[in-house]
């Protein structure tokens, strides 16, 4: 697989944690991922932006849980369906990205990388950094900063 090839030239490769939402596989650069855990006991926050499903306690820290499905404007998963969370950090704050499942870590080189297809839904386009061609499926690389950049813009819009 590509991962094997990539091992030969470690300088050009990046490690991605793969996550699933529905049928799509997404990749997050491993250096942004602090944790992978099963989210439990989410406290919903009234009046919060739609993307935020609530707050949860991750080993004594209060973490803001963010639903990747809602962020990507996908329908909510059926209630009771399995979910996993990826711990991300930004500006000293911890966020939990709620996904349907977490896959393996892939080491990928630049040779499989493609720019974001222009016909992709703009909401997705803004959140992705590119696509990797894998055997039999595609991996959409997510831009973590863009993912977490929703609340402020919304607030600014409200102010204006």
């Amino acid at each position: 697989m590509q991962a094997a090839n990539a091992n030969a030239a470690p300088a050009d490769t990046t490690d991605y944690v793969t996550v699933f939402v529905g049928e799509t596989m997404f990749g997050l650069t491993i250096d942004r991922v602090h944790d992978v855990f099963v989210p439990a006991g989410i406290t919903p926050v009234p009046l919060a932006p739609r993307e935020i499903v609530g707050l949860l306690n991750l080993r004594g820290r209060v973490v803001t849980a963010l639903c990747l499905r809602r962020r990507l404007s996908l329908p909510d998963r059926a209630s009771g369906a399995a979910q996993m969370a990826i711990g991300l950090e930004q500006a000293g704050e911890t966020f939990a990205l709620i996904v349907d499942g977490v896959g393996e870590v892939l080491k990928l080189g630049a040779e499989t990388h493609e720019p974001v297809p222009i016909n992709l839904d703009p909401r997705w386009r803004d959140l992705s950094l590119g696509v990797h061609r894998l055997d039999g499926r595609l991996l959409v690389i997510l831009d973590v900063d863009a993912l977490l950049a929703f609340g402020d813009a919304q607030r600014d819009a409200k102010v204006a």
């Binding site: 926050v45 009234p46 932006p49 935020i52 707050l55 949860l56 306690n57 080993r59 004594g60 209060v62």
Partner: protein, 900 residues
């Protein structure tokens, strides 16, 4: 060495290190006003502190350096030479500080060389001249006074101090001034900046081994982050322990239990300890203020008194650190600018000594600190002028600004209206720093000022980071924490009639209200608030649960929750940046069981409630009333007849209804409606009101026993609580008079007029007609209350006579043997109700045993005690109509028996 000095040393060393680094940065970026302001402020702080600690050498040096930096701020070009000179001065400062730390006293010596050079540079107009100035030509030292300042009374004492220091035996290691670095090249400064802290350390170390070393403070400074991290770890430990306890409960193996209990105990103690490290009483920050004020008072030649209250108010350490300096600044400012000179004060007819009041208290989830002086107040005209001069805002805009906005200009960097620059203040630093520091922790500063009366600064700091005691409540499926500070009381409510004596929520046009000790409390539901609205949705059940009575500022309201659990000390964690815009939450926390709960911000809720209120005045007047207490009446205001406003005491009203106009029936020419299984006559509140034939018709229902009457009104407007001042006594029997309510002329209707219209026999007490009606004497100084209660009492079957004062009542009692019982107001001008009852008891015979029901605005323990002594049958709140009737019914039987 005293604490102040020790603290000063630690702080100054830090400040100087910062200044070193910043200066180098500033030289590379001379246009960066931010850096300059920062440097200027730090040096100013050092200078100020030296001033009141009596360290003339340091003060003189810092002052000279500050003067030069002040020139930079005014646009004087920044040269390498000038920065070198300032750095040299900083090194000298550090050297002196080092000695000070070792010996506890400022070393003897002269800094005239540096001061001279600094002053020379500061007074040089041509920038070119500055180039050759850095070499501090020691030969050229004239003998100027070491400090150059405006003439102030304090000046003399400083000179004396310096002389005293000069004469005192100096330490052996007499400090020889270092020559300033010769060349103004960048690497040189950088090196110097790095070396800068060194002189302090070795000297201090050396001193430790020497004779009479000063013991170091037995505390260490810990980074707040470290404590924060500890806190997180402890929280985690608590969670783990809880899980273990849970497991232990399931397993019967007692082998665990003892060590687990121990773990549990240690964890609790650890948690408490870590929490404690974060909290400090605000008094810690105030410790040095009395001395500051005393010294200032001496220096400025003014008598100033500092009054402090609320020193025990606990603050988060971090918050305390941030506000410490601003507080000192503000107190100094008040002393210097606020309080007038003694002779001016005497001229203005004020006490010769000025007073600065410093107080701190918790309020609605914030900590409020007030600094109030009784000085001359801010000269807003001068500030306006200055603001225009300094071009802080377009002149036209400044013209239009309110006084409060204008007052805030004093927080502008570089602003100072002081006529003279003194060593205390007047350089225009300080106030902008105050504001910046307070704002960094999310606080606000407000100014209230009155020319000639004084100025009050109010600092409000949110409780973020603080540990608070919170009430854990449940609404819907969620738990929330409500800071206890805002909670006045909890009231259980049940559906009306579900339980005897239970509080019930009533509705006015759908809006829920609760009668609480004869006051109406607007009710919002926590669930509604969580939808972002203060109103109640159609169909929402508000009839049972708990009402959390909250007070924020001057606003009172009730928040209905489903369940109340317990109180818990919680650590407030700030909301995520994505959620901070929601005003309802002050933060979040992790409870003992590991669940995350949101902390309700009472201020945010109050704002939401306030928005839906008709006007801000509602809250105002309601809160005023809290203080004023009695003599206010709650009135229902409605529109009836030709658009005029009418009102009726709410205590007489049983219910407000909106009925379908189609259901009104006519019997014998009178309108009736089927109401709760009975026929209820309808009476228009004004002859001009026509009954509606379609749509809904508003009714005010009055009832007594099983009889009810519907007063037909056009529209129910409001419920107001105001001091009643009936202005015109109407000659119409349907009106008692008119009063101004909420700024509107309003007719107060006389229910006694309407009741007989509904039932001809109402006032005749039909149910008791068979028995001789007990005779009751109603004593109240207010004609309004007499008029209001008389029909009620008559309707209850008493024959009523009235008296408007205790004297009149006594006369009536003595002359009329037919009176069976007395209902008396307690709060009357002249002789009070208690006096009346006392006199009755003394009079003996019939009067000594006569049952008395007392009406009072406030039922306090003292009143109850006194009432018991005087054998008063019952104390009833003044507007509690049903309470009064119940009390009368209770004593009615024996009273009647005796009368018969």
């Amino acid at each position: 060495m005293d604490d102040l000095l020790r603290e000063f040393l630690v702080e100054s060393a830090e400040h100087l290190d910062t200044v070193d680094a910043e200066l180098v940065r500033f030289e590379q970026d001379p246009n960066n006003q931010q850096i300059l302001r920062n440097i200027f402020r730090l040096v100013h702080t050092i200078k100020g502190t030296c001033g009141f600690l009596g360290l003339p050498r340091l003060e003189a040096l810092a002052h000279a350096a500050e003067t030069l930096m002040g020139r930079f701020r005014d646009g004087y070009p920044v040269s390498g030479a000038s920065v070198t000179l300032i750095l040299a001065t900083l090194d000298r400062l550090k050297a002196i500080l080092g000695d000070l730390e070792a010996t506890g006293a400022e070393p003897a010596g002269s800094d005239d060389d540096l001061i001279g050079a600094l002053e020379k540079m500061a007074s040089d107009d041509a920038p070119a001249a500055a180039a050759h100035a850095p070499a501090p030509a020691p030969a050229a030292i004239v003998l100027p006074p070491p400090v150059e300042r405006e003439l102030k009374p304090g000046e003399v004492s400083l000179d004396d101090l310096e002389r005293a220091f000069m004469e005192a035996p100096g330490p052996d290691d007499f400090f020889v001034p270092e020559p300033a670095p010769q060349v103004a090249e960048e690497p040189a400064f950088e090196m110097q900046a790095e070396e800068a802290p060194e002189p302090v350390a070795p000297r201090a170390a050396a001193a430790e081994g020497g004779e009479g070393p000063i013991a170091k403070v037995q505390t260490i400074r810990v980074n707040v982050d470290t404590i924060e991290h500890l806190m997180t770890m402890v929280s985690e430990l608590v969670l783990t322990r809880n899980q273990l306890l849970e497991i232990a409960r399931r397993h019967e193996d007692s082998g665990y239990k003892v060590p687990l209990q121990r773990l549990s105990h240690v964890t609790a103690e650890l948690q408490e300890g870590v929490m404690k490290t974060r909290m400090q009483p605000i008094g810690n920050a105030w410790q040095k203020l009395p001395r500051v004020v005393r010294d200032l008072s001496a220096e400025l030649g003014k008598g100033i008194e500092l009054v402090m209250s609320g020193a025990e108010t606990e603050l988060d350490r971090q918050v305390l650190d941030v506000i410490k300096d601003p507080l000192t600044h503000m107190v100094r400012n008040s002393a210097d600018h606020g309080i007038e000179a003694t002779n001016e004060r005497i001229k203005a007819g004020k006490p010769a000594r000025g007073t600065i009041r410093l107080s701190a208290y918790h309020e609605g989830g914030t900590i409020t600190i007030e600094i109030a002086d009784d000085g001359k107040g801010l000269d807003l005209a001068a500030i306006r002028k200055k603001a225009v001069e300094r071009n802080f805002a377009p002149a036209a805009e400044i013209e239009k600004m309110t006084d409060a906005q204008v007052a805030k200009f004093i927080f502008h960097a570089g602003f100072s209206t002081a006529k003279a620059v003194t060593s205390v203040s007047g350089r225009g630093v300080g106030m902008d720093v105050v504001k910046t520091n307070i704002e960094t922790i999310g606080g606000v500063v407000d100014i209230a000022t009155e020319l000639g009366k004084g100025t009050t600064f109010t600092i409000k700091i949110p409780l973020t980071l603080a540990i608070v005691s919170a009430l854990i409540v449940k609404a819907g499926a969620q738990r929330y924490a409500v800071p206890q500070i805002a909670v006045l009381e909890l009231v259980r409510v049940d559906a009306k009639g579900a339980k005897e004596g239970a509080n019930a929520i009533e509705r006015i046009n759908g809006a829920p209200v609760l009668r609480l000790r004869e006051r109406l409390l607007p009710i919002v539901t926590l669930q509604g608030l969580m939808r972002g609205q203060a109103t109640v949705e159609e169909g929402e059940v508000v009839e049972s649960g708990f009402v959390v009575v909250a007070q924020v500022g001057r606003q009172r309201f009730g928040v209905l929750v489903d369940e109340v659990f317990h109180t818990e000390e919680i650590v407030v964690k700030p909301m995520s940046s994505k959620l901070r815009h929601i005003p309802l939450f002050a933060g979040n926390t992790i409870l003992g069981d590991g669940a995350v709960v949101l902390i309700v911000d009472p201020n945010g809720v109050a704002k939401l409630v306030g928005q839906s209120a008709q006007s801000g005045a509602v809250a105002e007047s309601e809160a005023e009333e809290v203080e004023a207490g009695d003599a206010k009446a709650t009135l229902l205001v409605f529109k009836g007849g030709a658009g005029g406003f009418k009102a009726v005491p709410l205590s007489l009203v049983t219910r407000l209804e909106e009925i379908d106009a189609a259901k009104i029936e006519w019997l014998g020419g009178r309108p009736l409606i089927q109401y709760r299984g009975r026929l209820m006559p309808l009476v228009p509140a004004d002859p001009s009101i026509a009954l509606r034939t379609e749509g809904s018709q508003a009714l005010v229902v009055f009832s007594d026993g099983d009889r009810a009457m519907g007063l037909v009104v056009d529209e129910i407007v409001d419920i107001v609580e105001e001091r009643l001042d009936i202005e015109i006594s109407a000659d119409r029997s349907d009106l008692i008079g008119s009063a101004v309510l909420r700024g509107r002329a309003t007719d107060i209707i006389n229910i006694a007029h309407f009741l007989p219209l509904a039932y001809d026999d109402w006032a005749r007490g039909p149910r008791k007609a068979a028995v001789k009606a007990p005779s009751l004497l109603l004593v109240d100084d207010s004609a309004f209350f007499r008029d209001m209660l008389t029909p009620v009492l008559k309707a209850a079957g008493y024959s009523v006579s009235t008296a408007s004062s205790a004297d009149e009542a006594l006369k009536a009692l003595l002359s009329n043997p037919g009176i069976d019982l007395v209902v008396s107001d307690l709060d009357m001008p002249g002789r009070s109700g208690f006096d009346l009852v006392g006199a009755m008891r003394k009079a003996g015979g019939r009067l000594a045993e006569m049952p008395v029901v007392a009406l009072t605005g406030t039922v306090g323990p003292e009143a109850i005690e006194q009432a018991r002594k005087l054998a008063i049958s019952d104390l009833v709140a003044k507007f509690d109509r049903s309470g009064l009737l119940a009390a009368l019914a209770e004593i009615g039987e024996p009273g009647l028996a005796r009368a018969a």
